[in-house]
Amino acid sequence: MSQTQTPQMRQDTAASDIPAIELRGICKAFGPVQANKNISIRVRRGTIHGIVGENGAGKSTLMSILYGFYRADAGEILINGRPTDIPDSLSAIRAGIGMVFQHFKLVENFTVLENVILGAEGSALLRPSLAKARGLLKDLAREFELNVDPDALIENLSVGHQQRVEILKALYREADILILDEPTGVLTPSEADHLFRILRGLKEQGKTIILITHKLREIMDVTDDVSVMRRGEMVATRVTAQTSPTELAELMVGRKVLLRVEKTPATPGDDVLRVQSLRLVDGQGVERLRGLDFTLRAGEILGIAGVAGNGQSELLEVLAGLRPATGQAWLRGAVLPLSGPGADAQTRRAQAVAHVPEDRHRRGLVLNFHAWENTALGYHNDPAYNPTPWKMDNDAIIRDTSAKMAAFDVRPPDPQLKASGFSGGNQQKIVLAREIEHAPDVLLVGQPTRGVDIGAIEFIHQRLIRLRDAGAAILLVSVELDEIMALSDRIVVMFDGRIMGERLPEKTNAQELGLLMAGMA
């Protein structure tokens, strides 16, 4: 653990004074979005350096620059004190950098051995390369507990083993610096513990490790130093032993301008939606929802807090009829099927369950459709739009869109403009107008203000409150803690597919919720 290292760190010798990696003033923009703003960081050799931050804080972009996937707009990279140009992955590999991506870069129907040598074969014929790799793998396995059957096909390996292959790939290329991007997101707790043992072993051998994560417990457990990123900026670097999860949580979330939403206390009515032991196993066999129980009442907003990727998205999709799950659910007292007939998106809409999806570009809108066409998305079977069975009444939809645009102050209020032509805030208003104006009993809403400007945020929040006051039950999923705190009447925190606890917004604070979000109950 880091404590044993701390004294040595304070009396650094001259040689190890040179950081393994130093970034100076790295900037990177994607169009108008500044993903990395003037980032500088030093990673000491032979340490595990954590980088934490919320989703979209710019961590992955920074690491992609380091691995030659993107080129920085400005700034300098120094490896072992030497300025190094990294235009592509090959240069990164040559500079001694190895990367374990969040989504593995493995060839599924190749063996472990073939994946390890790919791109670093050594000779034109495979046989000698494979033999050499087999021997090396055996040594690495012994040394670092990196046991994997070299002849197994990747597609037959567990996720944890696949990750070991990624680490082996980097070590086979003699990487001195190992970057791991959200390595535990797909692992079980025991697999994660094993991974950390491996990482500590590597550190003892003098390797430098960068661990990107949003899980504070991991940071506290294995890192020596930790840097915090927020909204594209590097806000702080601390020695892990001298900081606390509370401080890190505050740094991550930041002291943002407190959102103020005018609202009266809720007057909850009957139970509208009840869910019991909801479970979901995804296509790769990973359990994403591990038995959820909760109740949603009319006239209240139930906020689901949590770091992205802990099952909230899946929960929304299950309730919206987009993917089948197991367990029980009741809507207004009647059984709500979670799979099979009656568990589809059209039926849900007919049952007055509306859905504002998390990703409006992929799901919520057809970007190439006019605004009015998007107003009919999902409601294309609405009798108001179909006066006769054979003709869709486009004029009626356009009139309806104009009315909705006026009600939601969409700018420009032009139903004929393509969805891609609106700003993020106005796109979101189009989606919200569509879902809210159908006066749903239940509104499922994910990240309602992601990528939305301040003015629109306020407007959207007011509309959600107004819908609540009109008696609708709202399930709000957001990774923005302020938003959850400002809007919710009750808060449920999700971590790793489970509900960690329920709090009332007036009786909790960001620190407590942050700890729950980090899985520390």
């Binding site: 919206a320 009829g321 987009l322 589809d344 998106a345 059209q346 039926t347 849900r348 809409r349 859905h355 999806p357 992929r362 799901r363 919520g364 809108l365 057809v366 970007l367 190439n368 459709f369 066409e373 009919a376 998305l377 999902g378 294309h380 079977n381 179909n386 054979w390 003709k391 869709m392 486009n394």
Partner: protein, 365 residues
Amino acid sequence: MSAGGRIPNWADVTLVPLVSVVLAFILSGILIWAIGESPWAAVKLMVEGAFGSSYGWGYTLYYATNFIFTGLAVAVAFQARLFNIGGEGQALLGGLGVALVCLYIPWPHWSLALLAACAGAAAFGALWALIPGYLQARRGSHIVITTIMFNFIAASLLGYVLVNVLRPQGSQDPSSPRFAAEVALPKLHEMLALVGIPFSRVPPVNISLLIAVGMCFAVWFLLWRTRLGYQIRAFGESEPAAEYAGISPARITIYVMLISGALAGLMAVNSVMGEQQRLVLNAVEGAGFIGIAVALMGRNHPFGVFLAAILFGFLYQGGAELALWTSIPRELIVVIQALVILFTGALDNMVRIPIARLFALRGAR
């Protein structure tokens, strides 16, 4: 657009295909020049041959009729992001449908026969597209490969039926008997004579042209004025969004292939019933494939398909004249067609990116 920024909508539907066609023509002109002919004279000959007389116009419109049907077939499928390369086979089967209707039922009047032939052609074409559609929707078989395979299977099937079933006793020719005179479709010159316009009696252009134009409107109506069309377009633009809206990808795939196959099948009404008056082995003559070029150039819009079909009708008629009066063979048209497909379909980005840059420059100023 992901690459190179935005292009205004008007430029996207006019400028991009236009530049592609011009590039295709320039390359073809170079080819003509390379084989020792004058490109300029060739163009003049083609324009005169295709548009210089009512005879030329008649053939141009006859070919265009075929291409409208097959172009619409490909365009409808493209709207759902499905590449139906099987128009050739579907049109062959459509021909079989027409022949069976015309040969085995004694029709009192051509109008009734026309209705029945349309139904037969559409039904057979749709059926031939249904199987690949079903295999794609339910079994995940790649629709491009299955429709290619079905083109060949259709050719063999038709060969068998013509040789062993439809061929009259004693005939060496693998073709059906002639249809009865009652089922001959009115030609354009007869129709124009009613309103007193003289028109050449020779070309086979017939009432199917009106059906083709009607189909342009019908497809436009389907895509932009009906619920099914809305769902087809939403599915084609974004499958995740369609899923979110509760649109079933499998069902839309099957519906679209049925419609596409029916449109391709309808082509046979023009060629088999309107021209040959009997079913022959090569009744389709590649029109199914030209539909791909027509749809790509017409930007998958029925109006665009109509214009592109006229252009290809012109190329086919002009090309025939060219072959007649010069040493340039008809296959030059196939080269032009290939280049149009290459530039409008596969090298789209090559044309688009510089145009987008130009607009970006202009916008920056």
